[in-house]
């Protein structure tokens, strides 16, 4: 701690250890009270009655179906958002056009819209009395997918855009001057530049897609073994007075989340973002 390192990146701790310690304690204490303890509680509650009970609760056929439905939905919604996100970020970073700022703000809208309203909106569009009435969207997997895409839409754009803005267009222009085609430029220059931003965006979208509740609750119809996602299954168990089952399914969700986070942390380590 007292070592005066020649590295410029050295922490200010060398200057005032007590202040650093105070800041560190405040930050960690806040995180512990708000994050760590509550999440630990989920695990404790789930395994309170033993591992077997928890395991049984999450391996029932409806639970398994819910698990696979959640994964399927995420696997459709996340790539869709990844492609859209990259395209949008690319346009926003490279071109000035009228309404650019509006588009920039509109992309954040899904963060600000209450999930309940998302569900309501989808029903107003695709429902029986909607603008485009369809029996195959609402209360079926496509509706769940649409709701999930909606709520996880901004992540990739938000992660990719800053990277593109920072990098500028010099390299791409250079490549273009040297005769590379648009697609080649994208594949050889743009994609490698943004790959980390894209990865984080994908990971954050995945986490959000897996965990979405409010919007999906409204459009799914909660048909057991059909349109019940894992979060809905948690609620289902909770409503059925099966708290162990609810917490166990919650743990599965949390584990999915933690896996996603672990991947992200590992990538960050390799990438040296921290």
């Amino acid at each position: 701690m007292k070592l005066v390192s020649p590295a410029r990146r050295d922490a200010p701790s060398s200057r005032s250890p007590s202040a650093t310690l105070l800041l560190r304690s405040v930050a960690l204490g806040y995180l512990a009270a708000l994050l760590v303890v509550p999440v630990g509680m989920v695990f404790y509650r789930a395994f309170e009655k033993g591992f077997g009970t928890a395991w049984d609760a999450v391996t029932t056929p409806p639970a398994q179906h819910a698990f696979f439905l959640t994964i399927t939905v995420a696997l459709i919604a996340v790539p869709a958002n990844a492609i859209f996100g990259v395209l949008t970020a690319w346009v926003l970073a490279h071109y000035d056009f009228r309404g650019k700022r509006l588009l920039d703000v509109l992309i954040d809208l899904p963060f600000a819209v209450s999930p309940v309203v998302v569900g309501l909106a989808l029903i107003l569009v695709w429902g029986r009395d909607g603008w485009f009435p369809s029996t195959d969207v609402i209360f079926s997997t496509p509706g769940i997918v649409l709701a999930t895409i909606f709520v996880s839409l901004p992540f990739v754009v938000r992660e990719v855009l800053p990277v593109l803005e920072e990098e500028g267009t010099d390299q791409e222009q250079a490549a273009a001057t040297l005769g590379a085609r648009g697609w080649q430029v994208f594949w050889r220059i743009t994609l490698p530049t943004i790959r980390w931003g894209l990865t984080y965006g994908v990971i954050l979208s995945t986490a959000r897609a897996i965990g979405e509740f409010g919007a999906v609750a409204v459009v799914s119809g909660k048909i057991q073994g059909r349109t019940e996602t894992l979060t809905l299954y948690v609620e289902d168990r909770f409503q059925s007075l099966d708290l162990t089952g609810a917490y166990a399914a919650g743990v599965v969700l949390a584990l999915l989340g933690v896996t996603v986070l672990a991947i992200m942390t590992l990538l960050q380590r390799r990438h040296g973002r921290i």
Binding site: S114, V258, T265
Partner: protein, 256 residues
């Protein structure tokens, strides 16, 4: 693919997924005319819920700004064992389904909670739940900027006799401001719309702890779709204006 095609594609996608559904909500909210819209938004229960939502969200945004920057600072400038794990934990609120978050906050800070603090069914509970779900926004916005910050200016300031606080206020804060504002904007937006984590712990007392999204849910439930749409649209407007404002301030900060 030319820029026009790409731009068109992304706008089309945004339109299909986000704008058309939201437009449906807006149209629906005016189904019974502008008067009915205004009535729904100014009904006492709606006013109370909207006011609570906006005020609590502003408080949340303020706390997030302070704590988020502090956490980002500790994560970037400090070294301690397990830092990487802590860094990974930041995104946990994104990963944990809100319904589980609500359940757990209730188990912890509710009656019979192990910590002996009972804030369940109060406005403090609403605040707590919102702080939980919005935690990552500011941290994640500020972190990269702080990492990219050149230390020369700070060192120069210090060598000229500026204390750490002055250095922070004069040198670091201005550089962080756009990122902080962006993070705060997202946090505010999320807080305004949050539903899952609040329903269990807030107690849904009309006029006391009922937030707007729960009110909307209640209106949908009782068949008042138009009223629900009206309150939603109003909330959207508030969120939109705030996001737009933040975007302006952030751009101005960048342009300096």
């Amino acid at each position: 693919m030319g820029p026009l095609t790409v731009g068109g594609l992304s706008v089309a996608w945004l339109t299909l997924i986000v704008l058309i559904p939201l437009a449906a909500v807006v149209v629906r909210s005016f189904d019974d005319g502008a008067g009915a819209f205004w009535d729904a938004v100014t009904a006492p229960q709606a006013v109370a819920a909207i006011r609570l939502t906006v005020i609590v969200s502003l408080i949340v945004a303020a706390i997030d700004a302070v704590m988020g920057t502090l956490i980002a600072g500790v994560l970037v400038r400090d070294e301690f064992p397990g830092k990487r794990i802590v860094n990974g934990l930041i995104d946990l609120p994104f990963a944990l389904p809100t319904i589980v978050a609500g359940l757990v906050l209730l188990a912890l800070y509710g009656p019979n909670g192990p910590v002996g603090v009972n804030v369940a069914y109060t406005r403090v509970a609403v605040l707590l739940a919102l702080l939980f779900v919005t935690l990552p926004f500011v941290v994640r916005a500020v972190q990269p900027v702080l990492m990219g910050l050149e230390r020369e200016a700070e060192e120069a300031a210090e060598s000229l006799g500026a204390g750490p606080f002055t250095t922070f206020r004069r040198i670091i804060l201005p550089a962080l401001r756009p990122a902080m504002l962006a993070g705060v904007g997202l946090a505010f937006g999320r807080a305004v719309g949050e539903f899952g984590s609040i329903i269990l712990i807030s107690g849904n007392l009309p006029y006391k702890t009922e937030v707007a999204s729960v009110l909307v849910y209640g209106q949908i439930e009782s068949g008042n779709t138009t009223g629900a749409a009206a309150v939603s649209v109003f909330l959207l407007l508030v969120a939109f204006v705030v996001l737009l404002g933040i975007s302006f301030v952030a751009r101005r900060g960048e342009g300096r």
